[in-house]
């Protein structure tokens, strides 16, 4: 149980990062591993709660609180404290197919609901998770687990993001023959192209794909279902189909001047950058280059931050990120009590880098773009903005009100839109005849059956834009359901 007084004896140590000024010069991961001693000490801070809120994984106040895949956090924290890494890995892999992803890019709702965080800084759960799996690979503890027997059943999974991969892994282990179809040239979905390399090294993604391949999962890339292969063909060839196509349809800005050149969706920007980097280390020039330009990112979330970091690495002249909401408070407010996800001010890697490079935080708060002005060539020239006030109506709902006199003009050559995703893309759904509501595939959580016999859906395609951990959660659960569908019963975890 860690050390009983560990939480009193040790402070939380922040994850080590490379120097921001150095790391913006390359595309390698920005974080550095902890030493084993530090990890043991941090593991000792875990209180081994009898009611581990870190592990609960539920929606509280509309946000995720605790781990949606119910990682057995106290168990492996303790094992790390005791230096029993191999067992820690076993306990970690029991619930999490891909800790190397979540350990790097999860926003860690577990830490927000960590019981220690009621009064003290939370346990560094995410760092410990990453360390366990990294050590597992380093020490060769991760070896392909090739199923002893096959059921003869075939499953097609559309989409190779975290939901698709998780369900593929589970079903493969249950003995089914799994084929994963991916539209892009590389499998991994958002893991591959949605998240930049400095946050999640693509070698890490490829390592996992390679492992799954060795475990006899088939990956078919550059293949768009509906175009390259039809739904009927899939139905004919497979006993079950799972749609894990994500929620890739990006939300657009509806605004005067939107059509100006130089305005891109964040995903386009990030995807091209990563692809070019992986293909040719940017030599092919097949990416949006912001070098020497003024960049504005619209949207205050993580994707926006990734755009900021990418632009910095491209040596942009300036970068600003617009957010609709006011700056978050330093500590929780009374309306945001533990164990809800803490809406507090943090400095993500991109902001630290921008601050190091330009001397200030790139974020602008409570700001609304009113219009975009292009030059005579139709090229983006400037953005016009106004500050807003966040208020509550009589029923307690939030609304925004413009503050007269706060108009501003921002010169820019590039704008990246990162204001979220609207849902899954329609054509594929029509192919299958699958119903959707609000651009989400209609399939109940925990059941995952669509209106079409033998067709299941999981992940963002079903639930809408969310976290990788939810994707893994749904991927695992849908595997259980599909296994039941195929075999009449399932010993896969639910």
């Amino acid at each position: 149980m860690g050390k009983t007084t560990g939480f009193m004896d040790y402070y939380r140590e922040k994850g080590k990062e490379r120097n921001p000024l150095t790391r913006v010069g390359d595309w390698k991961e920005y974080s550095l591993p902890f030493s084993d001693e530090t990890l043991s000490r941090q593991g000792a801070r875990c209180m081994d709660c009898a009611t581990p809120f870190c592990h609960m994984g539920m929606e509280v106040q509309g946000a995720t609180s605790g781990c949606p895949i119910h990682n057995l956090i106290p168990e492996w924290n303790d094992l790390v404290y005791r230096g029993r890494w191999k067992e820690a890995l076993d306990r970690l892999l029991k619930t999490n197919n891909f800790p190397e992803f979540t350990g790097r890019v999860c926003p860690a709702p577990c830490e927000g609901s960590c019981t220690l965080a009621i009064t003290d800084p939370a346990v560094t759960i995410k760092n410990i998770e990453q360390a366990i799996i990294d050590k597992g690979f380093e020490n060769g503890w991760i070896a392909p687990r090739i199923p002893v027997s096959r059921t003869g059943k075939k499953v097609a999974i559309i989409g190779s993001g975290p939901a698709g991969l998780a369900s593929a892994d589970q079903l493969n282990q249950a003995g089914h023959s799994v084929t994963v179809f991916e539209r892009a040239d590389r499998p991994g979905g958002l893991l591959m192209y949605g998240i930049p390399n400095m946050k999640l090294d693509k070698g890490v993604v490829e390592r996992r794909i390679s492992l799954l391949t060795q475990e006899e999962i088939k990956f078919v890339t550059n293949t768009e279902v509906g175009k390259d292969i039809t739904a009927e063909e899939l139905h004919a060839q497979f006993d079950a189909v799972i749609l894990c196509t994500g929620a890739q349809k990006q939300r657009d800005l509806v605004i005067e001047g939107r059509e100006a050149k130089g305005i891109h969706f964040a995903m386009e920007y990030l995807t091209k950058a990563t692809k070019s980097y992986l293909d040719t280390n940017f030599e092919d020039g097949q990416f949006i280059n912001t070098e020497g330009k003024d960049v504005i990112v619209i949207g205050g979330g993580d994707t926006g931050a990734d755009c900021v970091a990418t632009a910095l690495r491209q040596n942009c002249r300036s970068v600003v990120q617009f957010g609709k909401h006011p700056q978050l408070p330093e500590t929780r407010t009374s309306g945001n009590m533990w164990p809800a996800y803490p809406n507090v001010f943090t400095m993500d890697y991109a902001y630290k880098e921008a601050e190091a490079k330009f001397g200030e935080d790139p974020r602008q708060y409570s700001i609304q773009t009113k219009k975009i002005v292009a030059d005579e060539n139709g090229r983006l020239q400037e953005l016009h903005t106004i500050q807003m006030e966040k208020l509550r109506d009589d029923e307690g709902r939030f609304f925004f009100k413009e503050i007269p006199g706060t108009e501003q003009v921002w010169p820019a050559q590039f704008v990246f839109i990162a204001i979220g995703f609207e849902g899954t893309e329609q054509p594929l759904l029509s192919q299958f005849g699958v119903n959707a509501i609000n651009q989400k595939i209609e399939a109940a959580y925990g059941e995952y059956r669509t209106n079409v016999e033998g067709v299941f859906a999981a992940g963002d395609a079903r639930r809408g834009q969310s976290l990788i951990v939810w994707a893994i959660n749904e991927g695992r659960q849908v595997a259980h359901e599909v296994d039941c569908y195929l075999m009449g019963k399932s010993y896969l975890p639910k």
Binding site: T4, P52, H55, M56, M58, L72, S113, W338, P339
Partner: protein, 1517 residues
């Protein structure tokens, strides 16, 4: 009407739950000279024990009283005209109770006449016994039997008296058997040529008024054995009155069920020279419809008639502890060891007196849990009784005053005309046969066998999974067991569903709940009083109990029933005709029932082939064959063999992978297993060692595990007050929840299962579920997490889970009722977790407008917070609860840790930090007069839901200075809270404590807290008769600061069962209106409160939920002092993290009340009172009917209703006005109370004057606070024998002096006063040999002085925390758990001195220092010589003693001080000494007192851990 009116089982009431306790007495002429005087005085003695008996709802009907005397030959000769009596001794007299139906009676009489003839004896005639039923109570009169005597003449051929007695016995048994078969009722009170019993449903003073015979001057006897009964019920029973035919009994046989079954099992093996062919006529020996006393009587009678001397038989039935007793002679030990091969002890708190008419004996149980005192006078009388002072004797006539010691015997031989000492009688017995030689030749001891190294099982993981092993089981149970060497500790109680309500496959073990002792008998302390325990186990066939022979001990002896692999191998391979073994597979594929039958058949044929060791094994488990739940297999076989009469021919040994926890082992032994090999636990250790998660050798791990499990089992036994594994075996001290009647009837015969439940099919299904999963699941190579103590999303449901916890916290912090409703919806509907969740309401009820319903303000007055001690929770949390409850007009409960007196006055802002309920628990921490007067309710905690039957321990590093201050102890020194209240070993003792407390605070209600279990209703009835005002029924799921995990999960029952049973039983008894019923145990919502009210509760307590409201997040680390939210901790650093506020609690309670109102409106109840007991509005819900296991439950017993008043209406009569204090003393001391003018007054006193001085003391505390009055302001002098609790709780300024003697509980809770007990100047006694005070003197005394000019009984100065006392000798277990004060002993001490003593100093005058050392329990103390300072202190105390008492001994010591001072030994606890030295060191370094203490505490607690050799079993609640 009949003479026996126990109602039939109905609702949750069952007649077999009845208990009784009593006062007993013997008055005899040692030389055997008979007189009518003896009969008269015997009866008058009984009247003086009246307060030990009970009265029901009809005050004129007692619980039963009676006497046994010699047959009054002369009386009968003159009275019976028409019968020619043969000479004395050649005729027998039977005393019979018949119904008033003449036809029926005549039928029975003629049958008896016939049997008499058949047996070759002569019927002399019948006589109707003249009675006057005008003098008895209404209830008694209605059930009065028709009483007749039969006179039977001896056949001339019968030469000796014993043969004639045997014939009479055969006549009686045959008549009884016939009557039973013919469904006719009659009862032999006695049938003997020597003794006769007159008894009935009478109060003591009614006995001779009712039986006119007893008034006749010619009615003479040399002895009168008398008894007055206190029954828990008020149902009339003439036959349950004592004396029985051979004995009177005060106490309880805890192991009765086992003893009965073993007796039954043995019957077929009996071969008796004495009975010969007649033996078959008397079987069965035991009348199991009788009380435990009468069953014990049956056994004693049989053994005596089979040829054993009464004393010998008594020693077999109730042996003194021998296996752990270093003081016993080798011969005596051999005697007991030999007899242990024949019979298990009948265990329990017991004082019996028995007689065959020639010898009269008395014997006390091994633990001395009953009082027994006697005087011998110079004119050859002996007065023996539960109390002294029951017969007036002039002091100068008393030759000596003594008491019966634990395990000892007193024997009076009327023919020899002398008292035979314990030593003499036992030596004679022990030397009668060459027992030691027989043992040496025959007994095989199998204890040194090393464990075979278990090979790593290739299918270890599969087996673990198949048996439901989890990661938690290993990391939180098995590994800690070896690391810490004990059953692991948990906190915060159980909030999981009962096994039968769980959605998951459950182990069969989880359906069985451990029973525990409360009120009617005490649990025992197996750690501090290890001396009385034994785990010795014997294997192989039992010999013939009736015939002593060397072959009787041809058995295999084990130190513990848990055996390693080596021992098992050895048993399997023993190459001896006496010990043939046979392995029987405990497996099934599809049909479980057939497989169980197969096991029984295989066993039968093995037995017929001479096998004496049956080994049930699941080693051969495989994919197709699952293991049968071991408990089921074992119990099925055990019950089968008992029925077959072959059980004692074999031992049942089990080799099972399922078994791993203390609870498993306890259950298996409880259901009849002889030895257990938990092989998978061993294999798991092997693996853990290989993996490096356990740093032990395999050998050590196995040994530690076995030791911890064995101790754990002893702990489980001791909760029921059972001290030997031998008597626990087969005693079925369990209750089933959720098992069907058919399964119980067939496989667990005799076990209570109140609500029925699952059948064999579901049991099989559950076993198969895990099995299938284990063998199917090939890709997950890890164990599931397990979720018994740590919530897991995919694990078992917990009522307090992240969702309910945070929603409740937010709702109460924000004052948001909508959010609260969200919480309560979760709590009520998330899952079926509690029994109450199985019900829904009758929708057809006419609802009301909510405006017509009782207000929130009114409802919250019925709310309380649960007892949580300051010490277990922080000052912040404790005071916040008090403030909140006082703001609401509800009540908070102090818990058992005392309370800072600064909290007794209001804060500046008007807040009140005083707890309205003050608790009195077994540790008596902080229980002073001043504490008691500042309460509205005084609660006696008999048990705690999370660990009923257990005490606790607060380790030294948690005894912060402020905790020590309030508890009256030393900082840094551990505190032990004993399992029992040492002043409550039985129901009449509880009545006494209730009376004591009522004296200490006449304005407070007295509450008694019980924990739910089968039979709690009957106990509640007894408690109501004992005059409690409030009875609390706690659920087993209540919280705790620390308890063994075994106890949290497996002991006690849900409150729904206990509450409903209590309500129903009180109604049946007509006692419901006398008490307020309260309940607690994981009450979470308004709906829970409504359910509780419907089941009968009027008041409600909450503990876990309020803690959650204050910030508790169910960390379950209360025992570690690391609570991260500042609640269950004393650590100042952590206390700063406390964020709770009183308003949150106020919100919570008001929300609950509001929700209650809403439901009341829905159900149409205007007031809460109206709703109490209205189970007719409940029905089983559809959800429950759909549950795969719960659907099998029969909930109707919970809904049973009885007509009558359903709520409290009639206050108890505490008889305070009749007390000496109110009548005489208080008026005499007014000047002192009002004006502080010293008063010195004198009074005569007798044993019926109880709790003398306490009311006066309470007045002092009320007027003068904690400081009291100046020394000797009030001096009260008495002459005579004082009743119990003399000087209880007397504060500063009050001095009580008595010339004569005192009974039990002298100076209980003494709070600063001074007590002087001295011998009459005219007495010839030597004080050192004169027992002047009873048992348990100065229990929980906190300050003051006492001078006792004589010896005191057992358990002197238990939990003394500050009194300075001089005494001239004491009994066993002296200074147990003492934490402070000085005790000077100018004479002998008994065994186990200073056990658990953690503070204070004892100076003992020991002539033989080596002998003294042996008597000490040296675990916690050091024995050293005196320093100069010590000598001064000692001399001063002895001088004072002499000054007050004129003690001859003191004067002699003082005159020869130079010689004597060297003979004194100082006993000081190690930790205490170290702390005192540390504090002194800090003071010497110049620190002010307070800082010195804190600094010493901190320095000490950091290195505390290694100093106690024995691990604390639990931390104080």
């Amino acid at each position: 009407m009949t003479f026996h009116q126990l109602p039939k089982a109905q609702g949750l009431y069952r007649p077999e739950y009845e208990h009784d306790a009593c006062g007993i007495g013997l008055y005899a002429h040692i030389k055997g000279i008979a007189s009518h005087e003896i009969v008269k005085k015997g009866l008058s003695m009984l009247c003086k024990l009246d307060h030990r008996g009970g009265q029901g709802s009809d005050p004129l009907t007692g619980d039963g009283a009676g006497l046994m005397v010699q047959i009054p030959d002369a009386f009968f000769r003159t009275t019976i005209q028409n019968v020619q009596l043969p000479e004395k001794g050649r005729y027998g007299v039977g005393m019979l109770f018949f119904s008033n139906n003449d036809v029926e009676r005549e039928k029975i009489e003629s049958y008896i006449n016939k049997v008499v003839e058949e047996e070759g004896q002569t019927l002399l005639g019948w006589r109707t016994v003249p009675v006057n039923d005008e003098t008895i109570g209404e209830t008694a009169r209605q059930s009065r039997p028709f009483i007749r005597q039969v006179f039977i003449g001896a056949n001339e051929g019968l030469k000796d008296e014993l043969s004639f007695e045997r014939k009479l016995y055969i006549i009686r048994k045959q008549s009884e058997h016939w009557a039973k078969e013919s469904d006719l009722r009659f009862y032999f009170a006695s049938l003997s040529s020597r003794t006769i019993v007159y008894k009935g449903l009478l109060t003591p003073e009614q006995v001779d008024r009712f039986y006119l015979d007893l008034q006749d001057e010619s009615f003479v006897s040399a002895f009168a054995l008398v008894h007055s009964r206190f029954s828990t019920n008020t149902f009339p029973s003439w036959e349950r009155a004592h004396p029985n035919r051979y004995l009177i009994h005060n106490g309880e046989i805890n192991t009765l069920r086992g003893n009965v079954q073993w007796m039954k099992a043995r019957e077929k093996q009996f071969v008796s020279e004495a009975f010969g062919e007649d033996l078959q006529k008397v079987l069965p020996i035991l009348d199991t419809e009788g009380s435990d006393s009468s069953i014990l009587d049956n056994s004693l009678e049989f053994l005596v008639l089979a040829g054993r001397k009464p004393a010998h038989a008594a020693m077999m039935l109730i042996p003194e502890p021998w296996s752990e007793n270093p003081h016993m002679t080798k011969e005596k030990r051999a005697f007991y060891e030999f007899h242990s091969c024949l019979m298990e002890p009948w265990d329990g708190p017991t004082a019996i007196s028995f007689t065959d008419g020639k010898q009269i004996g008395a014997i006390l149980d091994r633990n001395g849990l009953r009082p027994a005192r006697y005087y011998v006078t110079d004119d050859d009388y002996i007065i023996f009784s539960s109390e002294v002072g029951v017969i007036d004797v002039e002091p100068e006539k008393v030759l000596y005053k003594d008491r019966l010691s634990p395990g000892k015997m007193l024997l009076i031989d009327l023919e020899e005309g002398r008292i035979i000492s314990d030593e003499e009688v036992k030596t004679e017995m022990a030397q009668a046969l060459p027992y030691q030689q027989w043992l040496d030749e025959q007994l095989i001891r199998l204890n040194e066998e090393r464990s075979n190294e278990e090979e790593i099982l290739v299918d270890l993981l599969i087996r673990q999974k198949a048996f439901g092993y989890t990661y938690e089981d290993i990391s939180k149970y098995l590994v800690p067991v070896v690391n810490e060497g004990k059953d692991p500790i948990g906190a915060m109680g159980n909030d999981m569903p009962l096994a039968v309500l769980s959605d998951r496959a459950q182990s069969l073990f989880n359906y069985f709940k451990q029973l525990f002792a409360q009120v009617t008998n005490p649990p025992i302390d197996s750690l501090r009083e290890e001396i009385v325990t034994s785990t010795m186990t014997l294997l192989g066939a039992e010999g013939n109990i009736l015939q002593p022979s060397p072959l009787n001990c041809r058995r295999i002896q084990l130190d513990t029933p848990v055996i390693n692999n080596g021992q098992l191998e050895r048993l399997k391979s023993l190459d001896s005709a006496d010990f043939k073994s046979k392995v029987i597979d405990m497996l099934f594929d599809d049909n479980l029932e057939d497989s169980l039958d197969r096991i029984c058949q295989e066993a039968d044929s093995a037995i017929s082939e001479g096998v004496s060791l049956l080994i049930l094994s699941d080693r051969k488990m495989n994919k197709n064959q699952a293991a049968i739940p071991s408990l089921l297999a074992v119990s099925a076989l055990h019950q089968h063999l008992i029925r077959e009469g072959s059980r004692t021919k074999v031992s049942i040994i089990i080799e099972s992978g399922e078994v791993r926890e203390v609870h498993h082992l306890a259950a298996l032994i409880g259901y009849g297993v002889d030895a257990i090999n938990p092989y998978l636990a061993f294999a798991t250790y092997k693996q853990a060692i290989a993996e490096g998660s356990l740093q032990f050798t395999y050998e050590d791990a196995v040994n530690n595990y076995i030791k911890a499990m064995t101790e754990g089992v002893v702990k489980v036994m001791s909760k029921m007050g059972i001290s030997t594994v031998q008597s626990y075996r087969g005693a079925q001290i369990f209750e089933a929840v959720g098992i069907s009647e058919e399964v119980i009837e067939r496989y667990f015969t005799g076990t209570v299962s109140q609500l029925g439940g699952i059948g064999l099919d579901t049991i099989a299904k559950e076993a198969k579920m895990l099995h299938t999963l284990a063998y199917a699941d090939s890709y997950d190579q890890t164990l599931d997490s397990g979720s018994n103590f740590q919530w897991r999303k995919t694990g078992e449901h917990h009522a307090f889970n992240p969702g309910t916890i945070h929603t409740l916290q937010w709702a109460c912090r924000k004052g948001d009722y909508d959010l609260f409703k969200k919480y309560s919806k979760l709590a009520n509907e998330e899952r079926i977790g509690f029994l109450r969740n199985l019900f829904s309401f009758d929708e057809t009820r006419q609802s009301l407008s909510i405006d017509e319903v009782e207000s929130v303000d009114s409802i919250v007055r019925r709310f309380k917070t649960g007892a949580m001690s300051f010490g277990s929770i922080s000052k912040e949390a404790h005071e916040t609860l008090a403030i909140a409850m006082n703001r609401l007009g509800g009540k908070s409960n102090s818990g058992e840790g005392g309370e800072d007196s600064r909290r007794f006055s209001l804060d500046e802002n008007g807040d009140n930090r005083r707890s309205a309920v003050k608790q009195i628990a077994s540790g008596r921490f902080g229980v002073k007069s001043h504490y008691l007067v500042h309460a509205d309710e005084l609660q006696i905690k008999m048990a705690q839901g999370a660990k009923p039957g257990e005490g606790g321990q607060l380790p030294g590093n948690k005894v912060y200075p402020w905790v020590a201050d309030v508890r009256g102890s030393t900082p840094g020194v551990g505190l032990i809270s004993p399992p029992p209240h040492h002043d409550i070993y039985s129901i009449e003792d509880l009545a006494q404590l209730i009376h004591d407390l009522k004296n200490a605070n006449r304005d407070a209600r007295i509450s008694v807290k019980l924990v739910s279990k089968g039979g709690v209703g009957t106990i509640a009835a007894g408690v109501a008769k004992g005059a409690a005002d409030v009875i609390v029924i706690s659920g087993y799921d209540g919280g705790t600061g620390a308890s063994p995990k075994t106890s949290i999960q497996h002991t006690g029952l849900p409150w729904e069962l206990g509450l409903a049973e209590a309500h129903q039983t009180l109604m049946l008894n007509g006692l419901r209106d006398r008490v307020v019923l309260e309940t607690d145990g994981k009450l979470m919502t308004g709906k829970d409160v409504v359910m509780a009210a419907l089941f009968g509760a009027e008041e409600f307590a909450f503990a876990t939920a309020p803690l959650v409201v204050l910030g508790c997040v169910m960390m379950r680390v209360c025992h570690l002092d690391t609570c991260p939210v500042g609640i269950a901790t004393q650590n100042p650093q952590l206390r700063q993290k406390f964020t709770g506020e009183a308003d949150y609690i106020v919100n919570y309670m008001r929300f609950i009340a509001q929700e209650v109102r809403e439901l009341m409106a829905e159900l149409g109840f205007r007031t809460l009172d109206e709703m109490v007991g209205r189970t007719d509005v409940l029905k089983m819900s559809d959800r429950a009917k759909a549950h795969w296991k719960a659907k099998d439950l029969d909930l109707t017993p919970l809904l049973h209703q009885t007509e009558g008043v359903r709520t409290f209406t009639t206050p108890q009569n505490h008889k305070i006005d009749e007390s000496l204090d109110i009548q005489k003393i208080l008026p005499a001391v007014q000047k002192a109370l009002q004006d502080q003018i010293p008063v010195d007054v004198s009074f005569p006193i007798t044993n019926v004057n109880r709790v003398v001085g306490t009311i006066v003391g309470s007045e002092v505390s009320k007027h003068y606070g904690e400081a009291g009055l100046p020394e000797d302001t009030i001096t009260l002098r008495f002459t005579g024998s004082a009743g119990q609790s003399f000087g209880a709780f007397v504060p500063n300024g009050v001095t009580l002096e008595i010339t004569g003697d005192v009974n039990d509980f002298l100076g209980k809770g003494l709070s600063g006063g001074k007590l002087i007990v001295k011998t009459d100047q005219s007495s010839k006694l030597l004080a050192g040999e004169n027992v002047i005070a009873g048992n348990v003197a100065l229990y929980g005394a906190t300050s003051g002085e006492a001078y006792i000019n004589g010896r005191a009984g057992e358990r002197f100065g238990v939990r003394n925390s500050g009194v300075n006392v001089v005494v001239e000798g004491i009994g066993d277990h002296g200074c147990e758990y003492m934490t402070g004060g000085r005790v000077v002993i100018l004479g002998d001490v008994g065994k186990n001195f200073a056990a658990g003593m953690s503070g204070g100093i004892a100076y003992v005058l020991a002539d033989d220092q080596e002998a003294f050392r042996k008597l000490c329990n040296q675990e916690m103390i050091e024995i050293e010589s005196l320093s100069k300072n010590d000598e001064e202190e000692l001399m001063k105390m002895i001088q004072t003693h002499f000054y007050y008492t004129n003690s001859v001994k003191a004067s002699y010591v003082l005159e020869n001080w130079g010689n004597y001072v060297r003979k004194f030994i100082k006993v000081i606890p190690k930790d205490y000494k170290r702390m005192l030295e540390q504090i002194q060191k800090q003071k010497d370094a110049g620190l002010p007192d307070e800082d010195a203490i804190m600094s010493a505490f901190l320095a000490n607690s950091s290195k505390q851990k290694n100093t106690t050799t024995k691990q604390p079993e639990a931390v104080l609640r």
